[in-house]
């Protein structure tokens, strides 16, 4: 480690924030670009499974809540792309990486939303797991990312509560509604646990990211925390977690639980999830179909600038 790197690491160890124009190791920059852009892409792709139910939301109030949520997610995408841009990559470059398959997004969005209960469940479990991942990122060493996270976490907590509230209403409703919620939990439970990534032994980038304070907790730690938080919530809803191995472990003060199907996890990452093709194609189609729109706006901006310039000259 050279002196510059050592000084950088000391600043991080001292809890200082790194800001855009400051020197940083290339690996730090690359790791952040990868992580922030993946996070941004997840917000954007994440609009699709929830957007799938906007036109079918069961009441005007639920429709409004869902619209506001999806709008927030697009907003999160915007902050995050901006944060990534401070590291010297453009939004268009990031899109290109998404569309070419080079950049990933969270695999959870490759699962389908099949009933209205899925919308509540996504809020409860998926936003819940996301918050668990993201709360420590508010203390991330990279300033713009940490600050974006503060705002995002606040909104995500709100979304999670709304999701839980929607499910609460349903489980207190008809038996068909309650069955719908249990079915949603059965389908989303394991994918939600997999959102924390494979066990730390299997995770590639963890150690360095921890040292750089880009990552602050291990995958298994966060997963355990999520299970411990979520199981009582499920009980309160009167639902059964679809895991026969789940039981309270007095000694560790947390739940023991079964192993997710990592083969499925790697399959979904490899492009074989239920909706990988649909999600990516939807984004690519939106981008390609919108080219004329973006080109039109650019052309107008150029014309307007030229007009301003020539009227300025004329006025002189």
């Amino acid at each position: 480690m050279d002196q510059q790197e050592r000084a950088f690491q000391e600043r991080i160890d001292a809890g200082q924030k790194i800001e855009p124009k400051e020197w940083m190791p290339e690996g730090y920059r690359k790791t952040l670009v990868r992580q922030i852009s993946q996070h941004a892409h997840s917000e954007i792709v994440g609009q699709l499974p929830e957007g799938n139910w906007i036109t079918r939301a069961p009441t005007l109030e639920r429709k409004a809540i869902l619209l506001a949520k999806v709008q927030d997610e697009a907003g999160h995408g915007l902050y995050l792309y901006c944060a990534a841009e401070t590291l010297g990559i453009s939004r268009d470059q990031m899109y290109e990486q998404l569309h070419s398959g080079k950049a990933k997004y969270s695999s959870i969005f490759n699962y389908p939303t099949l009933t209205w209960a899925d919308i509540g469940t996504v809020g409860w479990l998926v936003d819940g797991a996301a918050i668990m991942n993201q709360v420590p990122l508010q203390r991330c060493s990279y300033g713009p990312y940490a600050r974006a996270m503060v705002r995002i976490c606040k909104e995500e907590s709100f979304h999670q509560r709304q999701g839980y509230d929607a499910l609460m209403r349903m489980v207190k409703g008809t038996p068909a509604q309650k069955a719908m919620v249990q079915d949603a939990l059965n389908r989303w439970w394991w994918p939600a646990l997999m959102m924390f990534g494979p066990s730390d032994d299997a995770s590639v980038h963890s150690a360095q990211s921890m040292a750089w304070k880009i990552k602050q907790n291990s995958n298994d730690e966060l997963r355990q925390k999520f299970v411990d938080q979520t199981v009582p919530q499920a009980k309160y809803l009167g639902l059964t977690i679809p895991d026969p191995d789940l039981k309270w472990n007095e000694e560790k003060g947390g739940y023991d639980f079964g192993e997710p199907d990592w083969e499925e996890f790697f399959n979904v990452i490899a492009g074989n999830g239920p909706c990988n093709a649909e999600r990516l194609n939807a984004r690519k189609k939106a981008w390609e179909d919108g080219a004329w729109f973006r080109d039109g706006l650019s052309a107008h901006a150029e014309k307007a600038a030229a007009r301003r310039a020539s009227s300025k000259i004329a006025a002189e």
Partner: protein, 260 residues
């Protein structure tokens, strides 16, 4: 539920009809706009469209909520949105037309916003305070919608050859569906007489001015006067509405009486 009080000098039927018309416009356009969620050409547009849809759904809740009160049969805004079939909907045809490309969506929005803006502006002075109050809130939102859709129409009209072509085509496609905004029937006449609403035709000159100015700046050619479609305001719609409703109403229809 007791029959709610309504404006003393107008018939309940006229008031109900008006509230359904304005509420259904917001509901159906909100539905169409929300179909874009996650599929628009730019992230900023995804945000703006969700926001527009959200405003329109919020307005729907207010207008249809008041419609239910005026009707006095205990029907909520949700009942009216989710449990009527197409022939009972009173929106104009323009708002149920398909999104097609983003240019058509924007042009539909602009043509509607300009009218909606003028209508709400006038409704702020309605002799029915409940209507004036809703209009006050909606007017602020819709002023912003109009700023946005007008700005984009101008920029795309005066953009590339391709964006100009698409916007001109969109304008011509939607134009025959704008006449319905200014039609009046006996209900309208009655309400206008009592100062509850502006006479529909009184908004036309202002609308044409907003449109003409924007089109000029957009280098778009205003279509010649011609045949105008109508029907929505009396429940005779296009074939599109039935598909919108089958999707929108699925849960309420499939699980009758459930609360969500």
């Amino acid at each position: 539920m007791a029959v709610a009080a309504f404006h003393p000098s107008v018939s309940q039927a006229a008031l109900l009809e008006f509230l359904l018309r304005i509420g259904d416009n917001a509901l159906i356009l909100g539905h169409r706009v929300s179909e874009w969620c996650g599929h628009s050409p730019a992230l900023e547009e995804d945000i703006a469209l969700s926001n527009t849809a959200l405003d329109l759904i919020g307005q729907t809740q207010l207008w249809l909520g008041l419609a239910g009160e005026v009707e006095g049969k205990g029907r909520s805004a949700d009942d009216l949105a989710y449990l009527r079939d197409g022939f009972d909907f009173r929106n104009i045809l323009l708002v149920e037309r398909p999104n097609a490309d983003f240019g058509k969506t924007l042009m539909r929005q602009f043509l509607f916003d300009a009218w909606h803006y003028l209508l709400l502006r006038a409704l702020r002075d309605s002799s029915d305070k409940r209507i004036a109050d809703i209009a006050e809130k909606a007017f602020k939102e819709v002023s912003y919608h109009l700023d946005r859709s007008r700005d984009l129409v101008i920029r795309l009209g005066d953009g590339t050859t391709e964006s100009h072509r698409r916007m001109q085509e969109a304008l011509e496609d939607h134009w025959p569906y704008t006449g319905e905004m200014f039609l009046a029937d006996g209900f309208d006449a009655e309400l206008a007489e009592a100062g509850v609403i502006p006479a529909p035709e009184s908004l036309k000159a202002g609308w044409e001015e907003i449109i003409s100015e924007a089109l000029l700046e957009a280098t778009l050619k205003k279509p010649a006067d011609g045949y105008m479609h109508k029907g929505g305001r009396r429940g005779v719609h296009t074939e599109y509405l039935g598909f919108i409703l089958s999707e929108m109403q699925f849960l309420q229809r499939a699980y009758p009486g459930a609360t969500w």
